[in-house]
């Protein structure tokens, strides 16, 4: 069952070939047998999953159930889940049982999807390798000595190892797309405001978006359909109807104009990754698309602007973790100051501390204009580059990451080199655009990703392009050995 698509699983559930209870049990069994190698799941929720599966079976028998009913998924541990530990990969929230559900959680629950557990992640989603987690690193199923990417590393590794057919992720600077690329799966970050951030623990509020990780675009479409839409509880949620993604999947690509930003193919890109991207573009040409050289002249500002905006917003968002209302509190605080300082000092790991300090510095008196304001201005330049590009082309393509998965520990002592692994994904968050990564080949036995960037609210088009490509390629069906 673990190699079936959502469409096949949904058909099997409806035909009575297997029940959601059997499917759920099979996923739980794979998690307990295979996950010790990966460390992709922090909390397994077997009992509630089995109870939800039985309910889904009843609903399926009654008919009129959405496609995702009875389908198991893994949930990134950044989404609040009532009564279930929501750790965000941090010691700070190791004891935190969320008192309410995130909107994404509610939507999946209401549709009858089965939550199997909560996935490992970089602490507070700050990282590109899943090595900053309090619960230890996640390993890449393609090579256990390598990172799965991050921050949604647990979700990506779990889907790649077929522990669950679907997983949720969040993406602030590449945290869905980069691990999807490094693990050889499909991941989509929607337009900013498309999916509700309510109950999704905030990292950088002007950049954070939730999205699906799956083995194919067609499967990702099913989850995206379920979680998208306006939510009055998120002040940045967009009041706009959600497209029907599935009927668009097979749209013809004749006349499609693909833009290749020259800045995404320069120095720093692994030649083997570049060659695979070229080969994927040839497939799109065969499908009727034309390829055009474009320029995003302010690309080089993306990573620097991001490392002002994201830390500034995180230093503000994480000030709520103070040892008073929830989360970790130090032993025997001698006064209030000591309670704050030690609870935060003991509760946060080094990368989170670095970012809080950068943000605190950038926002401190006298520095605001030089850092935050300047970065927000650079952000407009970056966004305007995309706006101009989309006057010439329908979609932008390039590599998701400059290389395949790196070794555990390879970049952990060098923050700037780690930050550069998101060099092609960050601009998309700064501009608020939808972006996607799909498997496009292998280099030295490791998977690599093709990034697709669409205009605002063109998630449907991205899924369509990805689906058409996946019908003429089989990279997305490849599975790591031993899983």
């Amino acid at each position: 069952m673990h190699q079936m698509t959502i469409a096949e699983l949904a058909a099997g559930l409806r035909a009575g070939t297997f029940s959601s209870e059997e499917l759920t049990r099979s996923c739980l069994e794979r998690i307990s047998r295979l996950d010790p190698q990966l460390n992709s799941v922090i909390t397994v929720t077997s009992d509630s999953a089995m109870a939800a599966a039985r309910q889904a079976d009843t609903r399926l028998r009654q008919g009129d159930a959405p496609l995702i009913t009875g389908i198991p998924f893994l949930h990134k541990d950044i989404f609040c889940t009532e009564g279930v530990r929501t750790s965000c990969g941090s010691r700070m929230l190791d004891n935190f049982q969320a008192p309410y559900d995130a909107t994404v959680t509610t939507r999946l629950k209401d549709a009858g999807a089965i939550m199997l557990g909560k996935t490992n992640m970089d602490e507070f989603a700050m990282g590109s390798s899943n090595e900053t987690s309090f619960y230890g690193p996640v390993r890449n199923p393609w090579d256990l000595d390598r990172v799965p990417g991050g921050s949604s590393g647990g979700s990506a590794a779990a889907v790649a190892a077929r522990l669950a057919p679907l997983a949720t992720g969040t993406d602030t600077g590449g945290s869905i797309r980069q691990p999807a690329a490094l693990c050889g799966i499909t991941g989509l970050k929607p337009t900013y405001g498309r999916v509700s951030r309510y109950g999704m623990i905030a990292f950088a509020s002007s950049l954070d978006q939730a999205g699906p990780l799956a083995t194919s675009a067609a499967d990702a479409a099913v989850m995206l359909q379920t979680i998208s839409g306006f939510d009055p509880r998120d002040s940045t949620s967009i009041e706009r109807p959600v497209d029907d993604y599935l009927p668009q999947l097979d749209n013809d690509l004749s006349g499609l104009r693909i833009g290749l930003p020259k800045e995404y193919f320069g120095e720093g890109l692994d030649p083997q990754v570049a060659a695979a991207i070229e080969a994927a573009l040839d497939e799109f040409k065969k499908l009727g698309a034309s390829v055009h050289d474009i320029s995003l002249p302010n690309s080089q500002l993306s990573v620097p602007a991001y490392y002002v905006v994201a830390p500034a917003e995180c230093s503000s968002n994480l000030s709520r973790m103070d040892g008073v209302r929830f989360g970790y509190r130090c032993e025997n605080p001698k006064d209030l100051q000591d309670l704050y300082v030690r609870s935060r000092g003991e509760g946060f790991g080094p990368e989170v501390k670095r970012r809080i300090m950068i943000g605190t510095y950038a926002l401190s008196a006298g520095y605001y204009d030089a850092y935050y304001l300047k970065a927000q201005q650079a952000r407009r330049l970056i966004r305007d580059d995309f706006v101009s590009a989309f006057k010439q082309v329908d979609v932008i393509m390039g590599p998701t990451a400059p290389s395949t998965a790196f070794r555990l520990g390879e970049k952990s002592d060098d923050p700037v080199s780690m930050y550069l692994s998101d060099i092609y994904t960050i601009a998309v968050n700064l501009a608020g655009l939808p972006g996607m990564s799909i498997p496009a080949g292998f280099a030295n036995g490791l998977p690599l990703g093709l990034q697709l960037i669409g205009n605002y609210f063109e998630e449907g088009r991205l899924l369509n392009l990805a689906h058409r490509y996946q019908q003429v390629s089989d990279w997305h069906t490849r599975m790591p050995d031993n899983f």
Binding site: S206, Y307, I358, L373, A378, R379
Partner: protein
């Protein structure tokens, strides 16, 4: 841009963040690296460029001033480290 250990100490204090003094030097080096990297922004002329607050230029939605949430104090305080009589307890602030 380079930060020394005194600067790290000061920033950690502003952020109410406990940092082991043995780590000051390491943080000073890392944070300086990051800030030097970010310096690239200085080279761009941004005169007259409006800072971007929201990619779709959305502004905050307003709603009518009605009570929409019910009181869930007990549920929220169930996850607090220390509470008493509906209040959050912290060490004594006033002597």
């Amino acid at each position: 841009m380079s930060l020394d250990t005194d600067a790290v100490k000061k920033i950690a204090h502003l952020a109410r963040l406990g940092v082991d003094p043995g780590e000051y030097e390491n943080y000073a080096r890392n944070l300086s690296d990051i800030l030097s990297f970010v310096e690239q922004l200085k080279a761009v002329d941004t005169t007259g460029i409006e800072p971007m607050a929201h990619p779709l230029e959305s502004s905050q939605r307003l709603r009518s001033d009605e009570v929409t949430e019910t009181n869930q104090r007990e549920q929220f305080q169930a996850v607090a480290p220390k509470v008493e009589a509906g209040l959050y307890l912290v060490p004594k602030v006033i002597e």
